[in-house]
Symmetry: C2
Subunit: 374 residues, 2 copies
């Protein structure tokens, strides 16, 4: 039997997580956070979620709604309340001032500026504090933020669309519309939640890809679509030799970052067109992808979505830089002459990378597979 008090804590935290998820497309570079204030009788008297960096945190919204009823109440927050003065005053202080009697957090803040200090501050003030309720769910919601705080790298998701026989395109390159509209909408939502959408010269040149978020294709409600439209992900092109011309649809769609090996004296041209050029040579004619990820994390990138062909996606895989594969599998066979999922030649079974499949689910007539390194 589960302790009823514990079950209650989980139910309120589940609601706080539900609220936090509303910030999926918009809190970047901040984490997604939700807060629920529950009065002594069990009534929810305040709810809030963080919408955008620079705007009030979840706790502030919830406390405002609760007003005087916050006194003696329990505050459920999906992330430890902050203790530092950022662009907004610390939430731990706001909770103290409001007179809440108890604070339940899903997890400690991995931000080294907080890291237990928020909860410590509350505890020192005599407030009953606990942490770890639905922690796994809370960590998943901010997997990129946590990774950036803990390792200085973003969470790298590689999106691939393949046939049942593991092929991404015909040998000729023909590949449009392997997957159906619901899968494409799912990819749009993956882009919208990411801080960065990253691609390579092959994809941008061959598919004339823009890699933008199209709010009307997200298949979410109007509020979510508006939040996504207001905070588009940064588009990053890996183009070692600067093969993609500034006239390409990718560059015409708005400012982007380009990672190259050498500027070849053309840097000014790109910068004048509003783009950022990063020179990150690895010495072998390729861009140093790990360095690029570190630069992106330093710029606040939590989640990076790699949408590239077998060469670039294969390079991320070979270098051990992939945290998650999102594979959209179409119910068709492209045959043995078609292009591989990843350019990654292996000789022996002992070299074969082992994965864990986290989730498989139908997306229209296609299937989405979530796999992570085992």
């Amino acid at each position: 039997m589960q302790d009823p008090a514990q079950a209650g804590d989980q139910a309120y935290m589940a609601r706080a997580l539900q609220l936090a998820r509303r910030g999926l497309f918009s809190t970047h570079p901040n984490p997604r956070v939700g807060c629920v204030i529950v009065a002594a009788g069990g009534e929810i008297v305040g709810e809030g979620w963080h919408q955008r960096a620079g705007e009030p945190h979840a706790e502030v919204h919830a406390l405002r709604q609760a007003g005087e009823r916050a006194r003696g109440a329990t505050a459920y927050v999906t992330l430890e309340p902050c203790s530092h003065h950022g662009r907004t005053p610390p939430c731990a202080e706001a909770l103290l001032k409001a007179g809440v009697g108890r604070v339940v957090a899903a997890m400690q803040d991995p931000n080294p500026l907080v890291a237990g200090r928020g909860l410590g501050l509350l505890r020192a003030a005599g407030i009953e504090v606990s942490s770890g309720v639905l922690e796994q769910e809370a960590r998943e919601l901010n997997v990129g933020f946590i990774r950036r705080m803990e390792l200085g790298l973003p969470y790298v998701r590689v999106k691939l669309a393949m046939s049942l026989d593991g092929r991404t395109a015909m040998a000729s390159g023909e590949s449009q519309w392997i997957t159906g509209a619901p899968a494409r909408a799912a990819v749009q939502r993956l882009r919208a939640r990411s801080s960065v959408v990253l691609s390579g010269a092959d994809t941008v040149l061959c598919d004339n890809a823009r890699l933008t978020v199209r709010a009307d294709e997200l298949e979410v409600d109007a509020e979510q679509a508006a939040l996504a439209a207001a905070r588009p992900p940064l588009r990053v092109l890996v183009d070692g030799q600067l093969r993609v011309p500034l006239s390409a649809a990718f560059f015409q769609a708005g400012p982007a970052w380009v990672a190259c090996c050498d500027e070849d004296g053309r840097g000014e041209e790109y910068r004048a067109a509003g783009h950022e050029l990063l020179r990150l040579p690895r010495g072998d004619g390729h861009v140093d992808l790990r360095h690029l990820l570190a630069e992106l994390a330093a710029a606040g990138a939590n989640e990076v979505l790699v949408e590239a062909g077998p060469r670039l996606a294969g390079a991320f895989a070979r270098e051990g830089l992939v945290d998650e594969y999102r594979i959209f599998m179409a119910p068709q066979l492209l045959g043995s002459a078609a292009r591989p999922l990843l350019d990654w030649p292996l000789e022996r079974m002992s070299e074969a990378p082992q994965l864990t499949i986290r989730d498989i689910r139908a997306v229209g007539r296609d299937w989405q597979i979530i796999a992570v390194p085992a």
Copy 2:
């Protein structure tokens, strides 16, 4: 709202189907059939299922158990009762003699010797007769028997074990243990339910495959294991040029059929060793697979399991002879140099065969995908 009488019919038929499934491994070449006798008050007074060809049909077992209580009762049968004298007397007559008042069948018998005559005979005798209760489920249980009766061909299932990136083995051929023990047990059960397990010379030579059913690896109860052991599937080798020596483990494991293009005067050698040789040349150095399937159906094969490498499995696929793919997908990447799922080079997306994915489910750490031509 569902009609309560109809819901009752479905519940009893579901029980009859459950009984029928106990014959999954043993009724070949007969269909799997279950029967439930329900007295007027709703009590089940008799249950039976067909175990083996030549032994009593499901109805006979159920009527024996019911005895006098069959009078005025309703008989639920998963297949129309037979009307012809085969190795056992017709079941329609047995039901009449027992005095049942009503007969509910899941489906008509596709056997041209029955095809409605069983139900017609009962109706003519004044018994209330209906058909079509849980018909879809009943058809699935005997998909091979129905196909053979209707088209003179067996139901062809192609089993494949692949990595997440659609590869079956390294370029060197190294491939053992791609999938885990639960997936291998599932393959054993697929073999056990099949009338025929079919493979090619490459697989038998390279993997030293025997393609036998090993009762202790089925992971079923003792009764099912004993039934499976007593009725092993016929093993068929496609070996156009008779490359596999009689000393191979495949031949040592028991009598088999070999389909070749030319006997080369060696037929007697195979026959003397207890094997059957079929000469089925197609004129291009390959065995005529469609002809082979027709021969197998003529010999009573309901379900054929193809366990072969990319070449032979690809040939079945290219010739449109595959009714179902059973793909066991292991959570690993074998890389872009590894062997394809099927040898089937295609040039244009418009040629890509479309499939429908019927089912995806976890089997240990692997996943089983059931796909059928769309």
